[in-house]
């Protein structure tokens, strides 16, 4: 069953500085199945974050359609929750208070349920004991756990993740990837995961969609054949490297043709 459906979506920006229109997303069509983990990779400036913002309802769109369970997206909704690249935590709220924040804004749960859910998801991301701490007392990796717990506690149908590990150091990032898979395997929500790291996408996702830069077009979708649970050693599997390589070639081919265009000018 299709959960999230994107059809012929295009997004144009008026680029003030250069006084011209930019096509950030160009005719993208993509269907994410219920319970599927789909990752979108692409170089910076390929419009992948624009795409996520549209799905989150944070950006308006005119051409094409985005729908969840067949219902057109026309703004933020309780059926979605976003894990942001920067943890975006309220510095004056404790960890428990931050995990509650999404639920509080959405006003879907009563006080007792919010309390219970906040407790549950703080534990799920492994932060029990830190409930009363403030965000600035936590490391970057721990802050991203809070960010994730806040999103999960809001009980979304679709979880949108916008390069959530990009600002972390390499070791923490790897660790967080395997933690994310563990947490995700507990209730298998539909996930749209944006990243510029190919191996992160291949390691995490059921399918990897590759986007090209300016205008952001969908270049291809790769099915990742590995079963679950996956361990970090999978990243050294020959087949894994092969997939990573073919995605890499697709992106590189793109940037070479871009260079050629630039050279001609």
């Amino acid at each position: 069953m299709v959960k999230l459906s994107i059809e012929h979506l295009s997004k144009r920006y008026w680029f003030e500085r250069e006084d011209r229109e930019v096509l950030a997303v160009n005719d993208v069509s993509l269907a994410v199945e219920d319970g599927e983990f789909l990752a979108i990779v692409g170089p910076s400036g390929c419009g992948k974050t624009t795409l996520l913002n549209i799905v989150a309802g944070l950006l308006p769109y005119e051409e094409g359609s985005v729908s969840i369970d067949g219902k057109r997206v026309s703004g933020p909704g309780v059926d979605r929750a976003v894990v942001f690249q920067h943890s975006s935590l309220l510095p004056w709220r404790t960890i428990a208070g931050n995990v509650r924040y999404g639920m509080e804004m959405q006003r879907r749960f009563d006080e007792a349920t919010m309390h219970e859910r906040a407790d549950h998801f703080v534990k799920m991301v492994g932060l029990n004991g830190f409930e009363k701490h403030f965000p600035n007392e936590l490391s970057g990796g721990m802050q991203q756990r809070v960010n994730l717990a806040r999103a999960l506690a809001a009980d979304p149908k679709v979880l949108l993740m916008d390069e959530p590990f990009a600002a972390l150091d390499a070791q923490t990032r790897e660790f967080m990837q395997s933690e994310l898979l563990k947490i995700w395997s507990q209730d298998r929500k539909t996930v749209l995961f944006i990243t510029h790291q190919i191996n992160e996408a291949v390691y995490l996702a059921d399918r990897v969609a590759v986007m090209s830069a300016r205008p952001g077009r969908l270049k291809g979708v790769f099915k990742i054949p590995f079963g679950r649970p996956r361990t970090l050693s999978l990243k050294r599997d020959p087949q894994f490297l092969e997939i990573e390589d073919s995605i890499w070639q697709l992106i590189e081919e793109e940037s070479q043709s871009l260079n050629m265009v630039l050279a001609e000018k």
């Binding site: 309802g57 975006s88 309220l90 004056w92 509080e104 403030f134 600035n136 809001a154």
Partner: protein, 261 residues
């Protein structure tokens, strides 16, 4: 055995020792110079005379009444400034049109030294308590207002985006992001307002009053009574130190979550 390395008594209390030393040396030198006849009592007092005068004005003079008068002026004016400054600042910071509407006034008044308005205020309110209250109010109001406006407007883009993604209403954004986010800014405004309000009360009493510590200083000056002058100055200085210290503590207490601390 490991542990904290031993520190000498001096190393532990260096700041206090050197600070005390400088004060003692200054007072001692001052008193000695006075005794040696190097300073004319007409232009300069001595520590001994100041202490004597302090005791005299406290017990038999009007020092307590003057302090009470000045503190009352300050407290009423400052209290009004905090309430109106914060309420008005939050409204102006939140509603763009309100801000644009009031901008010319606020810019003009903020840029004008409030002391320049003292004679006009005394014409309006007379030399009783309300002219001083109004001067303190005007002095403290602007730093509180301007900082509050800045605090409400300094909404973090990332937080705003997060709130919107979770379907926050404008009211929720206001109460959960704009208000708590502006608290440290408001406290900075209050700290600046304390300093300016004190100047306001002293200047107000010097220019148009028959009571208060400011009047005491002005009167001491006019009658060449340098002992009284020094007593007044010391009272003002200590009030300033105490109030600023309280405001700083308050500011630090509520800025616990600020990343730069």
């Amino acid at each position: 055995m490991s542990g904290r390395p031993h520190q000498s008594f001096y190393a532990k209390h260096e700041a206090v020792i050197l600070g005390t030393l400088s004060v003692v040396l200054l007072l001692g030198g001052w008193q000695a110079a006075f005794k040696a006849g190097l300073i004319s009592p007409l232009f300069f007092s001595s520590p001994e005379a100041v202490v004597k005068q302090f005791r005299y004005t406290l017990v038999e003079g009007t020092l307590l009444a003057d302090m009470k008068y000045s503190y009352t002026n300050f407290a009423i004016g400052f209290g009004l400034a905090v309430i109106t400054g914060v309420v008005f600042g939050v409204l102006i910071g939140w509603y763009r049109r309100l801000r644009l509407f009031f901008d010319p006034f606020l810019n003009a008044l903020y840029a004008t030294p409030r002391v320049a308005m003292v004679p006009l205020i005394i014409i309006w309110f007379g030399i009783g308590i309300w002219s001083k209250v109004f001067i303190v109010f005007l002095s403290a109001f602007f730093p509180i207002l301007v900082n509050t406006v800045g605090g409400v407007r300094a909404l973090d883009r990332d937080l705003l985006r997060a709130a919107k993604a979770y379907c926050a209403s404008d009211w929720q954004i206001f109460t959960t992001l704009a208000l708590p986010g502006s608290v440290p800014f408001i406290l900075t405004g209050i700290r600046q307002g304390v300093a300016l309000g004190l100047i306001g009360v002293v200047v107000g009493e010097m220019v148009g009053s028959s009571q208060g510590v400011g009047f005491m200083v002005a009167y001491g000056g006019q009658t060449f009574n340098t002992d009284t002058l020094f007593v007044g100055m010391i009272v003002i200085a200590f009030s300033g130190i105490l109030l600023t210290w309280i405001a700083e503590r308050l500011e630090r207490r509520f800025s616990r979550w600020r990343p730069e601390r």
